[in-house]
């Protein structure tokens, strides 16, 4: 028996990237714009999505949703009453449930979605500020929801996520007057990790920023 060294030099996530590209090909073929929506749990992804739907419907844009959760279908149930195609992806497959969606999980959900009836597909990722940033799923853009209740330092603690975002929705700004939250400091931290990234001050509760959010999605659709 002897030992041989084998040089590999391969990105360990190549398998995921390959499937992500296959997803992307399917999306492009059907002219679907895909947004990967990410945040910590409870930041407001589902509510911001609900708020955007009316505005997008008025513009004649058809939205579909892939809903990723560790378990349960609470968010999918919320959205399905709005008469849009929603597919639930549960990641609980043995080891307590995956904390993110990967390209293969998204691919498994595509079979149930009629892509030719969808203009914008929103993939609502599992609430988590680390893992979803690692795994491309074939998206055109990454939107991150951040709630002002999370603290100013989060971009510095989770740079991988904040750096990968094309848009940051700064949600729950209606609470600012009740919080010791320094918005300027947060924006400084955001610019330190992702200089000049597009951002919208939003409140799903009061409606602030919702027009901008809708316009952004429309522009991405192009």
């Amino acid at each position: 028996m002897h030992r041989t060294k084998v040089r590999i030099v391969e990105d360990a996530l190549d398998a995921n990237h390959t499937i992500a590209m296959a997803n992307r090909d399917d999306f492009d073929r059907e002219d679907v714009t895909v947004v990967n929506l990410m945040s910590a749990p409870g930041a407001g992804k589902t509510t911001l999505l609900e708020r955007a739907l009316d505005g997008l419907a008025e513009e004649g844009l058809r939205v579909g949703v892939l809903e990723g959760d560790v378990a349960g279908s609470f968010d999918a149930d919320r959205l399905s009453v709005l008469n849009i195609p929603v597919t639930q992806l549960n990641t609980d497959n043995g080891f307590g449930g995956e904390c993110h969606l990967d390209a293969n999980m998204v691919r498994s959900g595509l079979a149930e979605l009629a892509l030719d009836d969808i203009d914008i597909l929103v993939i609502e990722n599992v609430g988590n500020l680390v893992c979803p940033a690692e795994f491309k799923v074939g998206e055109d853009a990454r939107v991150m929801v951040y709630a002002v209740t999370e603290g100013e330092e989060k971009p510095l603690k989770y740079p991988l996520m904040f750096r990968s975002a094309d848009l940051v929705l700064i949600n729950k700004v209606d609470l600012l007057e009740h919080l010791d939250f320094d918005l300027e400091q947060f924006l400084g931290n955001l610019d330190a990790v992702n200089p000049g990234v597009e951002r919208i001050l939003a409140s799903a509760r009061t409606g602030q920023g919702m027009e901008e959010w809708c316009s952004w999605l429309q522009r991405r659709k192009g």
Binding site: H2, R3, T4, V6, E10, D11, A12, L156, A192, N194
Partner: protein, 121 residues
């Protein structure tokens, strides 16, 4: 906890290249921007690799520093904290030169002596 899935990706990549051969050592090259906790990664590789050719393999992780490059002045510098701003030109076109790697660099496998001798040269 992304280390668990990253471990699965590593073990899958190693198994693909090792085939039936037993793996004794794995060398990884991981950039500092990946936010990987080494001890956790090692712990999970051992779990995910159990009952496979990877079981018992030692793991070596080569740390790749986070180096940024300014597209304007072409300067390169290493960062210790997440600050993607050029010290001379300020915020603007900064790109990552190194630090985002997540590579399986090499593996060491056990070959049957006879198989090694008859292998095509």
């Amino acid at each position: 906890m992304h280390e668990f899935d990253l471990s699965s990706a590593i073990v899958a990549t190693v198994k693909k290249h090792a085939g039936e051969r037993k793996v004794t050592h794995v060398t990884l090259r991981i950039g500092r921007l990946r936010q990987v906790v080494k001890d956790t990664l090692e712990f999970y590789v051992a779990i995910v690799g159990k009952d496979t050719v990877v079981e018992g393999a030692t793991l070596q992780i080569i740390d790749v520093p986070a180096v940024l490059r300014c597209k304007t002045c072409k300067n390169e510098w290493e960062i210790e904290i997440p600050a993607f701003i050029c010290p001379s030109c300020g915020p603007g076109a900064v790109e990552v030169a190194t630090g985002e790697e997540f590579m399986v660099e090499s593996i060491e496998v056990e070959d049957e002596e006879s198989a090694a001798c008859t292998a095509p040269r």
